[in-house]
Amino acid sequence: MTTIHTNVDVTAAGSRAASLVSVIADWITTADHKKIGRLFIGSSLVAAVATAVLAAFLGLERMSASSYSILNGDSVVQLFAAYQFSLVYAIVAPLFIGLAIAVVPLQLGSRSLSYPRLAAFGFWAWASGLIITLAALGANGGPGGGNSNMVDLYLLALGLVALGLSAASVSIAVTVLTSRAPGMSLLRTPMFSWSALMGSMATVLTLPVLIGTLAYLYVDHTYGRVAFGGNVDVTKWIGWSFNQPQTFIFAVMAVGVLAELAPIVAGVRQPLRPIMLIGITLVSTAALGAATQSTHAMSWTGTTSDKVQEFIPFALFNLLPILGVLIVLALGGLAAKAGRVKPTASFVFAFLGTGMILVGMLVHALSLIGPAALAGTVAQESSTLYVVYGAVMVALGAIVHWGPKLWGRRLPEKQMFGLAALSLVATVLSSLPYVLAGFLDQPGNAVAGWSYDVSALLNTVSTIGHALMFITVLGFIGLAFKHFTTGALAGDDPWDAHSLEWSIPSPAPAGNFADIATVGSAEPLLDVKPARQGASA
């Protein structure tokens, strides 16, 4: 009997191990867009937690501008490089690319993503590049790094990150362009899918410019070090890719999330829908400034004619994305006015997050106006933080909204409202003090070298903001892990929504749609649902 029991245990243990290996192998080799998207999302959220910790450490060091308290002076350059890199390429870009990969085929009524293996390659290239980049920075590589081999490795790994994100973006763009359900013209494309098209195209147009520059830097640094200033000038050549307006491109999909959710919570069809599409498109014009690596500042000097001549390119490169966000917010408000709003946690996350992105854009525009004297100050870091943390807020809302379709269960609304409020406080506390510090001439990317009265206060408040963002994202991950595995079943259409993904079971089955549906309007589910009481059609 004992022998038989042992055999059963061994068999069961072996079976469990085989099952675990099979699950891991399935995730590693998957071509299912929902799994690839979740790999991107999960990795980015973990990166967000780690980056908030790093930002808090840098904030602690900045509390005393006279000496180094925690960090080694030699490592500060690498830590700032890791911080800037992570904010953009470990958090905001992959987070929204992952959301788009997971959600867009469902919204379009498609059975799969176009070129899913290209998207899977994109994930693994990005993930490998991310790890190697951080390892190279940790081993004294990167901008200003003293280890020559690690500087080379950093340049290669950054290229791998850009290649991975570009590959995944190609897959998203081709899906929107070729895999829409019958009857779904581009004008009928759901708002988030439209923003995914705009955001991924802008990514495809800008990241190759970074790859080309990295090719020059790598060849120069590895062989000659005669043209590009060696390790010292790395940031001079590729710094644009970690700053505004490049970050606006990755936030295009965040604006699309708000445009998607506003008419859903109001229970109406989106009024002036084509204008909303134009608004999202205007945000993606940030690609103009990113691809040309040009900063069109306004010195605000000379005659009126001089000022007008400066203002036109300034407006074209810096104000168009702001106009786009304003249009989306205004038309979202119009939808709310036309219907009866039932705010959800996902909408609150998206609305507040988009507001933060708008503030970041405004701070960026302000920093380019000469009399403000914010160039080179920590105010530019503040702009990045507003955009990135605002985009993270929107992404959390998007996960709350589409989570049921990916995991079959929903997150608790009450706790999500609390996290939305906390994330707002975290974003404001971490970013606003740096705007004020910028006016007091605190330099960017430095932990020492300034002196003004409230320096300790402002940097302490910002550090608290980073710590709160750490708590927000960690709390969200914990709640998501709990409720997406054992939480309440969501039902097929928990939000009374409008687009095709809500017509199939939750979680979406393999192959998504048993039958391909015909679409007769931009809100196909409203065509077959009774109108919500009190909401205009």
Partner: protein, 201 residues
């Protein structure tokens, strides 16, 4: 409750290969435009001097001891244009279900790509410059190296399309069209590189 929408017949494929190639081509264009932009920036910043007869201003961007092998570089350009004709012939044949001509055209394309890479190697060997010799040399190897990578990707694309053609994929016209699009974009990109790097110098 699962909502039921009017179902449709499975839609026809929407030429995904062609659209994907178009999007990738946009990326390639931006890649080379960015690299040429940096090249021109360095060139514009180079020192200037008057020619010996005092009639024109010369930029000292190209080191005086370097001679650009124009025959090899022009051969590359001509090879790309010839490849375009072959790629379009393949599209023409594919539309008429003429598999033998389609396969021959693609095979010639592949041959042209080998010839173009051979011409690039000839450029390197005739110029006899080292990658560590100076800013011009470093950047020359970087930009032409990226062109070689794009040509290698083109070779892989042509090989796959050719193997599919030889293997009897007769409903492959959109892939052949995508292949032709890649050739056109590669030719346009090389035209710019040829003018800026090999002609304008």
């Amino acid at each position: 409750m699962t909502l039921t929408l009017a179902s449709a017949a499975t839609p026809a494929p929407k030429r995904q290969a062609l659209v994907a190639t178009a999007v990738a081509s946009a990326a390639i264009t931006m890649l080379m435009a960015g690299m040429l932009g940096v090249w021109l920036r360095f060139r514009a910043a180079a020192d200037t001097r008057m020619s010996s007869d005092g009639r024109k201003v010369i930029k000292d961007w190209l080191p005086s001891d370097i001679k650009i092998p124009e025959v090899s570089s022009n051969t590359m350009l001509a090879g790309l244009f010839f490849g375009c004709v072959m790629a379009q012939w393949a599209v023409y044949a594919a539309k008429r279900d003429d598999s033998s001509h389609r396969s021959v055209a693609l095979a010639v394309c592949l041959l042209m790509e080998v010839a173009i890479i051979n011409a690039q190697v000839a450029v390197y060997s005739q110029m006899k410059i080292g990658v560590t010799d100076g800013a011009y040399q470093t950047m020359f190897y970087a930009i032409t190296g990226v062109v070689v990578v794009l040509l290698a990707v083109g070779m892989a694309f042509t090989s796959v399309t050719w193997f599919r053609s030889v293997g009897g994929r007769d409903n492959d016209s959109h892939v052949v069209a995508a292949h032709a699009l890649y050739w056109y974009v590669l030719t346009a990109v090389f035209c710019a590189v040829w003018f800026v790097v090999y002609v304008q110098k």
